[in-house]
Symmetry: C2
Amino acid sequence: MRIITWNINSVRARTNIVEQLVKTYDPDILCLQETKVQDHMFPTDFFEEIGLPHLAIHGQKSHHGVATAAKAPFEDSFKIDWCEKGDARHIAVKIAGGPTLHNFYVPAGGDVPDPEENDKFAHKLQFMEEMTAWSKGLKEPSIVVGDLNIAPHPDDVWDHKKLLKVVSHTPIETEGMMKMIDAHGWVDVMREFTPLPEKLYSWWSYRARDWNAADKGRRLDHVWVSPSIKDTAKHMEVARDARGWEKPSDHAPVIVDFEF
Amino acid sequence: MRIITWNINSVRARTNIVEQLVKTYDPDILCLQETKVQDHMFPTDFFEEIGLPHLAIHGQKSHHGVATAAKAPFEDSFKIDWCEKGDARHIAVKIAGGPTLHNFYVPAGGDVPDPEENDKFAHKLQFMEEMTAWSKGLKEPSIVVGDLNIAPHPDDVWDHKKLLKVVSHTPIETEGMMKMIDAHGWVDVMREFTPLPEKLYSWWSYRARDWNAADKGRRLDHVWVSPSIKDTAKHMEVARDARGWEKPSDHAPVIVDFEF
DNA sequence: GCCCCAAAAG
DNA sequence: CTTTTGGGGC
């Protein structure tokens, strides 16, 4: 079973590359973030046409929004309202004969890494705290995927020192993420297959002139599994080629194959 | 010598179909209206690549804008500032070994066909008056092309009666256009090749569900020549197919072949 | 409908 | 750099 997670940066503006991803990498389940579309305007017909007719979507106008699309029906699906903000940042599905799959879009956190001065950063930290508490209490085997907007390790960014004061790689965020991982014993699947200290990125800014040559990337996207199902993950790759497709997202898809 | 006039509704948003037009219909001179781009941002490289490297452009930010592109150099080019508004609505070129070619974008005129209530309609009427006076004084053989935003004859619109109170087909506009034609003795080339009462359109609204089947068109685009060079026009067609291309303009190109 | 622009957001 | 929105224009 192949699961792909991808921050698509508007699903309606990028049906072309979603189709290209599905044709090229053939996911069984596709988890999207930043769909930027209300549920009643979601392109359901398109997902049917590309062979992923089963949808669990949680969207809002303009911002955020997540969607999980699959070849086969889910046993169940539900949303969690993190920070009681009504934001569309999470959707969970129960995979038939498999674990529960949580699709997250964690707040980016704005520019200033100070919760006193920047409400968006405070929101990001509170979101992580709630995820940490939730991780601690979580009993059933689960998968967390999505854009968590934090690159936790020095080798998850192109320049550790330069990024220590840049939101996504500040100590309060990276240490918070490690606490969240410890709270459940989450297994960082990407790093199981590409161990430290190898560089590993999933995001390259639109603003860079030549993103590929400059390679100033960050690993903002993640796939975590409960320790009890660690060995079900058989393969991982970052589909870096998709970052170079026509009208790309600034994120690359992360692909993981499981055997449940 | 093939001349094509086309309201392109943003030249930068439609380089694809400009290329398709050039490949399909191979104009020697292409006159565009509503280029919507300042001169320093005009896609000159693109026009070089498609074989029309010689440019006379008159643009402004956001609105209006005309451009005349050709395979061969012009002998001269100049602009006229109609109504002293500084609008980019005209560019003229002297064709080597041929007449002077005037490329116009006449004001659309807003919604309410009353010059007292609607400044845009007053502007349109004043523009026509200035063009009429200019036509009267014009000595050298000339060609006028462009989006004149008036469909003068009953068979230039899909429903004459329904459009009598709709800007582009009101009596004050259609009669004004006939006066302008008389002022110079302009020969309406499109109607030489497709005589009344045959229906002839060059524009179909974006808002129509199925523009082709409904066929609620108007002839807003024109090609006129001085009476002395009437017989140099050898062929005319409206490239209606272009209205159905990918991301179309709401206007179709008008093609005229000349032998100077 | 579809273009432009200006803001806000990433 | 790229997306969204809402307003203006046609």
